[in-house]
């Protein structure tokens, strides 16, 4: 197709050019309504478009419009997050047919981008200018071209061109270069949108620009763009899940074979008989319950009363997704009249993707995941949280999970298990990893044996370094800094020291006496690889200890007390419920090391569904059997606070380099957090106001107060959960607490308060929203009394105000943070943040304050922060 064109190209700089072209053949084979994107890796890194791309191995995916804010992940042949070879090109292509007329096209991007229409270059953005220091000037923020247009992110570029189209379909193509010049492999926001010059800007503030697509319908407004990005996250999560399943298909087959072997190993064992105990409550008893009652035969202890339905749902929701149930979930559960509605709720919750959010926090602690966002030097690891999260989302067999961790493959800096292998500024990273692994999966505590022989455990320092040698695949030489000086005159240490600095330690399994050394036939793929041998020793179906440790961990997390005492140190511990532990761990091994199956068995038990039995009562024989009292974890508190009022967290992106201009090896971007586990320390040890991220810091303050660790330099299972005065105060007076309580325009309580309903209904809904249950009669009376005055006249006619304070735009980043203006902006932002979310004008002020006080009272009730 040859066609003559007249182009009117208007660049954003105000240069008006008229160009004539002869268009060459366009690709008419594109049939999809979606925009097809491809990624080509490893192009030349020379700040130019002068290179060829090879189609080999390109990743292909689609989007509903010519706009992206993120890219699919790359996976290696084991289904692990891998790094793309940079720089790489992202190319999006689509056929667009617009009525004849004159159009304005808006190209937005972070880095170098080109836009082609009918194979002709019509707009181009520049290559980025990397910046290592912080001495730059704060860039100007670009004003929007028309009212209602989504803001251009700071330091991003845009080009505006005017083109006449002839009413025929044409191919549009956008290309972006990513991960060039040693910068992080982040795309940033990329979009192409279009507006007909014939269309007048709307007075409602809806922009005329729409994202380019076969049929452009999505306006480039702040809200529509936010929704587009949200949908993209969901779409990419699905795409990534399918991609890693496909990439790891052969690996999955290997694991299927291993699980066959595991079943055979278990089949050779003498079966563990389920006792035929019957409790007074014969309603339902699972095998777990029968073991427990058998165990308590002599004491005669029975189960505590069944916990009520509302408390059950809140409990099991917190234990699966890590967050309290929504009113819709409560309604679905309560309205379900089937006799097995608890089982149905359990299955619904186990299938919910939030399962991965809740368990990621746990393994971050246990595995000492410790990423830093700037020049990490405090025993920091890579952010292997993303691999943990994906593994849990996939309900990956746990032996495979552990094997992948030990093998430390995939991406080191962008989320693969290879990031586990890093320990910045540590004198013996592999010894440190040996300590983590032994504690996590074998309940062997090598903490003391890291620097000398352990005084209270049967482990020598050599044991730690033998494991380290296996992990490192080579002989280790003991660093001087990993020893205790013995020549002190005034102190004679009683710890025993059997290694000297410089001693050589060979790779060998040190626990022959403690743990079986054999593994089942067919488990090991490369018997010459000490690291793989270590993974096999730990995860072999012949290693009962491994399965038992995991079962005990899951049990202890859900019940609040363990079957085998401490979750991570079994030395000298008596296993109280040995038969039950044996039964559950065999079931675990014989069924593919399936965490959800194990969790389901626990949730279905009469024990789990009993009322809480306070720990202080545990030893009193007349006291019933039930789960222990558990305070919510820090992440549960945080996520539930925001779920209770259905507000976004509102934290900043976790990076000091939002525009991606600083060297990838020193700066990380942990993204925009939506759940507690996604946070990391903002610590930069520089005390510069210009580097503060105040909204995120306030969230972190709450997390830390409740026991979350901003620095996970060492592995930990049981956090410090002692009560302290700062916990209730953080909720009562803190910025996050105040944001939660405030009836701003964006929260659920404001919506409920504006709804047509009676006061009694409103009180009930607010109770369900926050504490997941209806109020007692006294509670209802209390709050009806509080809110009656002015209830009928509570609604005003005021228009909505802007939502949260953190919407303030600024361009402060590492690259310019030395400028005095950067400090001024951030100090001002901190002040604004302290004022909390501005309240809605749609509710009359005095009544609104009383409603807020009700929310405050519920959030600050001890009931809120404990698992019921």
């Amino acid at each position: 197709m040859i066609r003559r064109w007249r182009w009117l190209v208007l660049f954003a700089l105000g240069v008006l050019t008229t160009v004539s072209y002869s268009a060459v053949a366009e690709d008419e084979s594109i049939a999809s309504k979606d925009v097809v994107f491809e990624i080509f890796e490893g192009v030349a890194d020379k700040r130019s478009w002068d290179f060829d791309v090879s189609d080999a191995g390109a990743t292909t995916f689609t989007a509903p419009a010519m706009a992206l804010a993120d890219l699919p992940k790359k996976y290696n042949n084991k289904g692990l997050i891998a790094d793309r070879k940079g720089p790489f090109v992202v190319r999006g292509t689509t056929r667009v047919e617009l009525p004849e007329g004159e159009y304005r096209f808006l190209l937005r991007s972070r880095g170098a981008t080109r836009l082609f229409v009918a194979d002709k270059l019509v707009a181009e953005t520049k290559f980025r200018e990397p910046s290592g220091d912080g001495h730059g000037a704060i860039p100007e923020l670009v004003a929007a071209h028309e009212p209602g247009l989504a803001e251009l992110p700071p330091e991003n570029q845009e080009r505006l061109v005017t083109i006449s189209l002839d009413g025929e379909p044409h191919t549009f193509r956008v290309e972006a270069i990513v991960a060039d010049q040693g910068l992080r492999p982040e795309l940033g926001e990329l979009s192409v949108s279009v507006a007909c010059t014939c269309e007048a800007p709307s007075i409602e503030g809806e922009p005329t620009f729409k994202l380019v697509a076969a049929e452009p319908t999505i306006p480039l407004s702040e809200t529509a763009w936010a929704a587009y990005k949200r949908e993209e996250r969901g779409r990419l999560a699905k795409f990534n899940a399918a991609a890693r399943a496909e990439a790891g298909r052969e690996e999955t087959e290997y694991w299927n074979r291993r699980h066959e072997i595991a079943r055979e190993v278990i089949a050779t064992r003498e079966a563990v008989e389920i006792p035929n105990s019957r409790g007074a409550d014969k309603a339902f008893l699972t095998p777990i319950d029968r073991f427990l009652l058998e165990h308590q035969k002599e004491s005669g202890r029975e189960f505590a009363p069944l916990v009520n339905d509302y408390a059950f749902l809140r409990r099991v929701s917190l234990d699966t997704g890590g967050v309290i149930p929504s009113p819709a979930e409560i309604e679905e559960f309560i309205k379900d009249s089937s006799p097995d509605r608890r089982a149905r709720a359990i299955d619904r919750l186990l299938a919910d993707s939030r399962w991965a959010d809740h368990w990621t926090s746990y393994w971050q602690d246990v595995l000492a995941e410790n990423p830093g966002i700037v020049k990490p030097e405090l025993n920091n690891t890579g952010p292997f949280r993303y691999w943990i999260h994906e593994s849990l989302a996939d309900n990956k067999p746990f032996d495979r999970f552990v094997t992948e961790l030990v093998m430390m493959e995939g991406s080191a800096m962008y989320g693969g298990p290879s990031g586990f292998g890093i320990a910045s500024q540590n004198d013996a990273p592999m010894a440190e990893k040996a300590h983590v692994l032994a504690k996590a999966f074998l309940a062997v505590d090598l903490k003391c044996a890291r620097c000398h022989d352990a005084p209270y455990h049967p482990f020598k320092q050599k044991d730690t370094f033998s494991l380290a040698a296996m992990l490192d695949r080579k002989t280790q030489s003991l660093p001087k800094t990993s020893t205790v000086p013995v020549s002190e005159q005034d102190r004679k240490p009683l710890i025993s020291i059997s290694l000297k600095p410089g001693d050589k330690i060979e790779p060998e399994w040190p626990f022959d006496a403690l743990l079986p050394s054999e593994w089942a036939e067919g488990v090991v793929r490369d018997a010459n690889d000490p690291r793989e041998l270590l993974a096999a020793r730990i995860t072999s179906p012949a290693n009962d200890r491994f399965a038992q440790v995991i079962v005990n961990r899951v049990w202890a997390r859900y019940i609040g007390w363990g079957l085998a005492g401490s979750p991570d140190d079994w030395h000298g511990q008596e296993i109280a419920y040995a038969e039950l532990l044996e039964y559950l761990s065999r079931d675990f091994v014989a069924n593919g090391y399936d965490l959800k199956r194990l969790a389901r068995a626990i949730f279905l038990s009469r024990l789990y569904q009993s009322e809480v039995v306070a720990a202080s009562d545990e030893d009193r024989p007349q006291v019933a059997l039930g789960p222990a009292r558990r305070r919510m974890t820090a992440e549960q508190v945080l996520d539930s606070l925001f779920a209770a009022v259905d507000k976004p967290l509102g934290a900043e992106e976790l990076t000091f380099d939002p525009a991606g201009r600083s060297p990838a090896d020193n700066f990380r971007n942990l993204g925009l957090p939506e759940r507690g586990w996604q946070f990391a320390s903002l610590s930069n040890e520089r005390d510069r106001p210009a580097l503060s991220l105040p909204a995120a810091q306030h969230v972190i303050d709450v997390l830390m107060t409740f026991g979350w660790r901003e620095s996970r330099q060492n592995p930990l299972t049981e956090r410090d959960d002692a009560a302290n005065v700062l916990q209730p105060l953080a909720l009562a007076n803190g910025v996050v607490g105040s944001r939660v309580v405030s009836l701003s325009d964006d929260g659920a309580i404001t919506r409920l308060a504006l709804d047509e309903c009676t006061l009694e209904e409103l009180v009930q809904r607010v109770f369900e929203q926050i504490v997941s249950r209806p109020p007692s009669k006294q509670e209802r009376d209390l709050f009806v009394e509080l809110l009656r005055d002015g209830f009928d006249a509570r609604r005003t006619k005021a228009p909505p105000r802007a939502p949260a304070a953190q919407k303030q735009r600024h361009a402060v980043a590492w690259s310019n943070h030395h400028s005095p203006e950067a400090t001024r902006i951030k100090i001002e932002l901190e002040r604004t943040m302290r004022n909390g979310d501005p309240p809605t004008a749609k509710l009359e002020g005095d009544w609104r304050e009383r409603m807020e006080d009700m929310v405050w009272a519920l959030v600050n009730s001890p009931e809120f922060v404990f698992v019921p």
Binding site: L378, V612, R629, E685, S692, G707, Q713, T823, R834
Partner: protein, 438 residues
């Protein structure tokens, strides 16, 4: 020694029962680990101070431009001080010309000119080392010196023992001592700490209404679960917390009640933080870390690479004004002998200039300062070479520096803390500088 001969701590725990452990563990276990500890080890010198104001010059203050002046350099090729030196109240001790208010007060100070460490010359690792006294290991997170002091010298009820004026960071944290020994912090002297300060728009009447509603909900929970220790502990903490936030303690943060002339003496925001510190000390706070790195003044704060050097004198003058005012003010309140002022930083800076006219990092020797605390002041400890590049005599290790601070506060630097059942000495074999103690 064989394993069988060792005390099996868990057997020991079982034998004593859990509740006995807390009492027994603290006194028995160290002896189990260190034979005849008390008889072999000389008693360290101990001071009588009750509080510490720890001024942190984040970024790495140049000793050669502050407390250890040398021959002038030219700001480009020729290494040396960037400013002239002046005499002080103590014969033989000079400081930079921009410390003109502190110079006459030098008899209340001790200059530690040979602090040094081998940490990587980068901020996070060095800051952590200077706060915890140890490098990171991977098996344990060491507490900051502030948390250790808070642990060893608890404050009275209703008073937070450890306050930070600056940004939260890992180095300032409580480590294995747990959140209970962490800090409350504020980033502006007029803001009050988050959590203790009531949110805007909540006056006394509204707060009373809120607490009345909360008490009704809380009392129901309290009555329904009388034996539930965890719940009851949380409720007790909440009740104590509301008392704390409601009491006169919060008035401490109201600097407006100080005379204008005194506020002017202290100067800028950094000075106001020091004034607030004095008020906190008066009210029983044990350890206050005050950060001096508002990069307003010169862009980089104390991390004076490149053009950060040009206005470094502004930072030094701010430190000079605030610290001199603090010394005089504490003295007027008869608190100087009871309050140790510390000036610390993560490393120093070399005498050479970088391509942009600033300075790089130098951890092999740098200066810290002590003042008051009932110490034998008016002296400098340690000497550096002609350009302050190397220790010439009397090196001071980071553990020794920490041991000196602890000892001044009456804390034995060799006594042990516990990470679970693992004993950890407060300092890594640090020895207090003996000649500073009476």
């Amino acid at each position: 020694m064989t394993y069988e001969n060792r005390i099996d701590r868990r057997a020991f725990v079982k034998g004593c029962g859990r509740s006995a452990l807390a009492a027994a563990g603290a006194s028995l276990l160290p002896r189990a680990l260190h034979a005849d500890e008390t008889s072999e080890r000389a008693k360290p010198p101990l001071g009588k101070a009750d509080a510490c104001i720890f001024i942190w010059l984040g970024g790495g203050a140049a000793q050669i431009d502050t407390f250890d002046p040398k021959e002038r350099g030219d700001g480009r090729k020729k290494p040396g001080s960037y400013y002239d030196a002046i005499d002080t109240a103590v014969a033989g001790i000079q400081v930079t010309e921009h410390l003109k208010r502190l110079a006459p007060l030098m008899d209340r100070c001790v200059l530690l000119r040979t602090v040094h460490h081998k940490s990587v010359d980068e901020h996070a690792a060095a800051t952590n080392l200077m706060h915890t006294g140890r490098p990171t290991t991977g098996t344990i997170v060491y507490p900051s010196i502030g948390s250790v002091v808070a642990h060893e010298r608890p404050a009275a009820d209703g008073v937070p023992p450890y306050v930070v004026m600056g940004y939260p960071n890992v180095a300032r944290g409580p480590g294995f001592l747990g959140a209970k020994h962490g800090y409350v912090y504020l980033t502006q002297s007029d803001a009050g700490p988050d959590g203790l300060r009531r949110p805007p728009g909540v006056g006394d009447a509204r707060q009373a209404r809120r607490e009345e509603l909360a008490a009704k909900l809380r009392n129901r929970v309290k009555a329904e679960h009388p034996h539930d220790a965890k719940l009851q502990e949380y409720i007790a903490a909440a009740e104590e917390g509301f008392r704390l936030a409601g009491t006169k303690f919060m008035n401490v943060f109201d600097l407006a009640s100080e005379p204008d002339s005194l506020r002017n003496d202290y100067g800028s925001e950094f000075g106001q933080r020091l004034l607030l510190s004095r008020r906190l000390v008066q009210n029983g706070v044990r350890f206050i870390e005050v950060s001096s790195n508002l990069n307003f003044v010169n862009g980089t704060g104390w991390d004076t690479h490149n053009d950060g050097q040009l206005k470094q004198h502004g930072l030094i003058q701010e430190l000079d004004q605030g610290m001199a005012a603090l010394i005089v003010d504490l003295e007027n309140h008869k608190l100087l002998d009871k309050t140790l002022i510390v000036v610390a930083t993560e490393f120093g800076r070399p005498p050479e200039f970088d391509a942009g006219g600033g300075r790089g990092h130098q951890s092999r020797v740098f200066s810290c300062v002590l003042a008051g605390g009932g110490l034998r002041t008016g002296r400098a400890i340690g000497e550096t070479d002609e350009l302050s590049k190397k220790v010439a005599s009397r090196p001071i290790s980071v553990p020794d520096f920490h041991a000196t601070i602890h000892a001044t506060l009456g804390i034995d630097p060799a006594s042990e803390l516990y990470d679970g059942d693992r004993p950890v000495p407060i300092t890594d074999q640090g020895k207090a500088i003996a000649e500073l103690f009476v």
